[in-house]
Symmetry: C2
Subunit: 308 residues, 2 copies
């Protein structure tokens, strides 16, 4: 077992998971935990790479499992299915998150979650509570996470807290979220050198309800039609994953970050649930969901409410 | 469904559960939630009655279940088995706690727990974070909770945070925890007008592990021998509960708050687990556990580790 305290977000990490891991590492070091170390459960996506290039930061080490009794801190997730292998035998010191909860720990720990749009918004409050100074790099990491998770405040997941915190982070970092964030989000929409398997795994989460297993994958784009040129390839990759993982449903959403809607591919024997869930007709395994941009607040709850 | 936000601690409420409910009600009102209302899941024990008499406060309304979609806030617990009936259909807005976790919520919420000795220690930090002034009554409620949960700092559950917060609360309230807390704890040891059924239910918690159900009840005393004069009556009441609730084990601990040890009664077909768990011999269903005062840090983990 490593003496380190390993800090990580969820599998298929997005910008909030990666940025918040480094923000948490800095927080821990300020609190005297010199062994804190941010790692990742997967490769950085292009949006996050844009942030790291901008800041001249090195990418984190990637891990997939932990040894028994390893000290860990979870950010941006709490469910074992979205975390590292062997989490149940690790020692979870802290969790900082903003998601729904499904969590067991047979020991006391620090756990803080709030109903806000971004983990970094919660971390900002913790910095303030401890009176820890936020440097420019840390401020821009948090700002990037908020820009990503709230789609520049346009997602229904965005709360007044996220906006207020982002404004304070703009003051600290001297960076304007609109122009910087737009460049960052656009960098994330470049799918040109990904295989179809890679595209569906850029931001894919596994969920379970009453014995049913389903995945919802999401990519951001500024040109939905361009993404759907490769529909046949995505369907082949998705069907392969459905077979391998014994999934009941797979929803792949290409979310238009300019026009704020999503076109989906729905596959698996529960694929028709999408029609009831969103009041749409599925044609050729696809449907357009107007004004839908958030997996957490829109896609997931509608599916959960209609999946029997 | 009531428009109120009902705030409550665990069943068989102790001083932390009751005091923290009122401290949370005051916090919520300061944050603009005028509908916040502290209630209780059972009668106040004598220790808590001492606090309420001292402060001239009215006792809370007692509830046992909630309607669907009722807004609730949990303090000092998070597990459904220790909470109100129908919790799974309520809307949990917040949890503030300091226990192990076994919690599911299919929606975002505010959840804050820390590895400290008392819920009120966490609540004190939240007041500080929001910059909310702590009045003398609220300070004494928190101080009472800390004195109770840490047995005046003598329990192994007590942390430096609890001591630091208690010192600040003494400054605000103008009350010395040693003399006030000793009177409060002693008031809680008066079992003279309780029936045996009432004594075992003063502070009793239900636990589960791998399909096994067990209860650990605890009373504070300054005179263990006096408590055990009624051993036969307690055993009758315990055996009745074991049959009714289909329990595998029931441990009743009389904890000497002066000498910091506990004498237990162990019943149920898993009763012998106590011998392995604490390295003691059980005689006449009883054993003396030296230096054991904490259910959470000492009795529960040792039983969990040895219950197959």
């Amino acid at each position: 077992m490593s003496n380190k305290t390993l800090i990580f977000g969820h599998k298929n990490p997005d910008t909030d998971s990666i940025a918040s891991s480094f923000v948490m590492e800095n927080l821990e070091k300020n609190l005297g935990n010199d062994e804190a170390k941010a790692v990742a459960l997967g490769n950085l996506n292009k949006e996050t790479k844009y942030v790291f290039n901008y800041l001249g930061m090195e990418e984190p080490e990637i891990i997939s499992d932990v040894e028994n009794d390893q000290n860990v801190i979870l950010v941006d997730h709490n469910e074992a299915s979205q975390s590292v292998t062997n989490l149940e035998h690790s020692k979870i010191l802290k969790v900082v998150d903003h998601h729904t909860m499904n969590f067991v720990a047979p020991y006391q720990l620090y756990y803080r979650t709030e109903p806000v749009g971004c983990t970094s918004t919660v971390l900002y409050k913790i910095y303030k509570e401890y009176g820890i100074k936020i440097d420019k790099k840390t401020a821009l990491l948090m700002l990037s996470a908020i820009a990503s998770d709230t789609l520049l405040f346009k997602s229904p997941t965005c709360t007044p807290d996220d906006i207020r915190v982002a404004e304070e982070l703009m003051n600290i970092s001297g960076v304007d979220i609109k122009s910087y964030g737009t460049d960052m989000l656009k960098a994330g929409t470049d799918l040109s050198d990904y295989t179809p398997e890679q595209v569906i795994n850029i931001d894919c989460k596994l969920f379970e309800k009453g014995g049913k297993k389903f995945k919802i994958a999401q990519v951001n784009t500024a040109d939905i039609d361009n993404v759907f040129k490769n529909q046949a390839y995505f369907e082949a990759a998705i069907n392969q994953d459905i077979e391998k993982e014994k999934l009941d449903l797979y929803v792949f959403a290409a979310t238009d970050i300019v026009n704020s809607n999503s076109k989906i591919i729905t596959l698996g024997h529960d694929a028709p649930v999408v029609e009831k869930a969103f009041g749409v007709s599925v044609t050729n395994n696809t449907a357009m969901l107007e004004n839908v941009v958030s997996r957490k607040k829109q896609i997931l709850p509608n599916i959960l409410n209609n999946l029997d």
